[in-house]
């Protein structure tokens, strides 16, 4: 059976239209993952999202890195480099302001989900 995959980012896939729903939440997804895992690198984030959503959600490279770089420039993420095998790896972690921002964004997202549920849920009347 064909499995429908949601994409966040650029791509030619038909399912791309669904990505609009997720695009606005990409930063929050990244921040939440970093809050949970401490520090992560780019490739690890893409794999983690795939793993958690059992392959339903695919964060593309073209969307992930600009989001990470923007959060870094805004001071929400700090960067550390480490030599792994024979190459340098760039790890991201939340700064103090990033941690606060994560709390705010998650709360905002929760309110959004609640409101959406109220809006799309069919009303039952007795």
């Amino acid at each position: 059976m064909h499995k429908k995959i949601m994409y966040i980012g650029v791509g030619k896939n038909q399912e791309m239209k669904n990505s609009q729903l997720y695009k606005g939440s990409l930063n929050t997804i990244i921040m939440r993952l970093l809050e949970e895992n401490g520090r992560m690198y780019g490739y690890e984030i893409t794999q983690k999202v795939k793993e958690i959503t059992k392959g339903d959600l695919n964060v593309t490279e073209g969307a992930l890195y600009p989001a990470l770089h923007k959060l870094e420039a805004e001071g929400f993420l700090d960067v550390e480099m480490e030599k792994v095998d024979n190459r340098l790896r760039k790890y991201y972690r939340l700064t103090a302001s990033g941690e606060q921002e994560t709390v705010n964004r998650l709360a905002e997202l929760e309110t959004f989900i609640k409101n959406m549920q109220v809006l799309v849920k069919p009303k039952f009347q007795i």
Partner: protein
Amino acid sequence: MNTGKTADRRVNETEIEKLYAFTGQHYVAYYDVQTELVDHLANAIEAQWAINPAISFDEALKIEFRKFGVFGFTTILEERQAALTGKYNRRILAEFRRFFRLPKIILVIATVYVVFQLLNRSDYPDYSILGLFVITFFIEGIAAFLWLNKNKKQQKITGKKWLLESIMKNIYFSFPLLFLSNGFNIIYQIMNKIEMGFRTILLFSILLVLLYLFLYIRMKILPKIFQEEMNEIVKKHQIIK
């Protein structure tokens, strides 16, 4: 992280060098941006080898590069440039705002007053204003070339190109170039059309002081910030200075 890898085949040093060259061929000239992409590609290639050990390095790289979309690395590079430019513009504005708080604001007002008095007493306030704009342009131009010279020396030490250097280059050269392209002509046209009264001289006095404030921030404060951040970036990338 568990990526479900079973094979141990890793990207070797020669292949890492190939990846750096590959990002360079695809319009990413900056070592800091290249490094992140190289690690990403290497991870993705190793993940492919875990599933299919027979696939060649070049074939795996081709597959991974396709995932970056039709624009390749360009979108990532452009977005990073935009994010960093925004960061430093915000930094400049933050420094600028400091001059509008006590006690520095007193100094700013006093300077505006002095400039205004000098221009108001001048027999040729319009030419004086034009002259001051020209001086600003020259200082900006000289400072930009001095910075470029210093930067070339730094590049020789590290042997690499860094994105931050490119951002700073834009910040330093945008203003002199703007002046050179049309800015000076626009000011000249304005001066020709308006009458030099009390209000006009006051307005230009304020404008000139604001301009010199920007100049001061860009020439005095920004290089310090830049140097600190540059040292940090180079240190993080483990390049010995």
